[in-house]
């Protein structure tokens, strides 16, 4: 899991948004979101030490 990757795509999205490229920004945001979900699945699947 490349931890820096969602920050890179997020930075690209923010930059594209600043430059007025809305569609490209939305696409980059979506890529960031997909990576975020994937990284969450990787880092958040250990069992918790409490009973819910």
């Amino acid at each position: 899991m490349i931890m820096v990757l969602p920050f890179v795509t997020g930075a690209i999205a923010a930059w594209l948004g600043m430059r007025g490229k809305r569609s490209a920004c939305l696409f980059a945001w979506f890529i960031t979101f997909v990576i975020f979900i994937a990284w969450c699945a990787y880092h958040m699947t250990d069992p918790l030490t409490l009973s819910l």
Binding site: M3, V8, G10, M18, T32, F33, W39, M44, L50
Partner: protein
Amino acid sequence: MNAYKTSAAFTWPRFLNTLGLAGISATLLFAFVWQFMFNELPCPLCLLQRVALVMVGIGFLLNVRFGSAPSHYGLIILSALGGAVAAGRQTLLHMAPNDMGYGSPFLGLHFYTWAFIVFVLVIAACAVLLVIDRAQSMLSNSAMPNLFARLVMWLFVLLVIGNVVSTAVECGFGACPDNPTQYLWLKH
């Protein structure tokens, strides 16, 4: 896009979204200050919460840059939900007896708990903005935001780039350890 054109560069929703973006930037800045002042390295879950903050900020930035639109609010809410899940998960992770939590607390709460509160507040703010934002229409690209809004957007972009550099120095081009103690690229 012409169908969406309005004449005013200043609108209350745009101003309130600028404040939202300023709040997200302030949160990212504060996390940075804490990281470097106390040499507390963010863990993978902490970094994921920062990613969610960045995604929330992108939604606010779109509202500021292009005018408010339901799709932009959708991005913000989805991002805040993701962030709340990550922050909630980390809160539950450290809820066990004799667990002192990760990092030092601020005003009695750890940063992941604060992050959870921030994400819930963002969702609430979006709900309010959707109620008061009657226009629900995008401004044309030519209606540039005012100087304050442009400065806030630049600050946000710089903070996101700062996070890219900081995360790369901490984790390199791989996964971060669960309890990082030193920056990978600064190891002797």
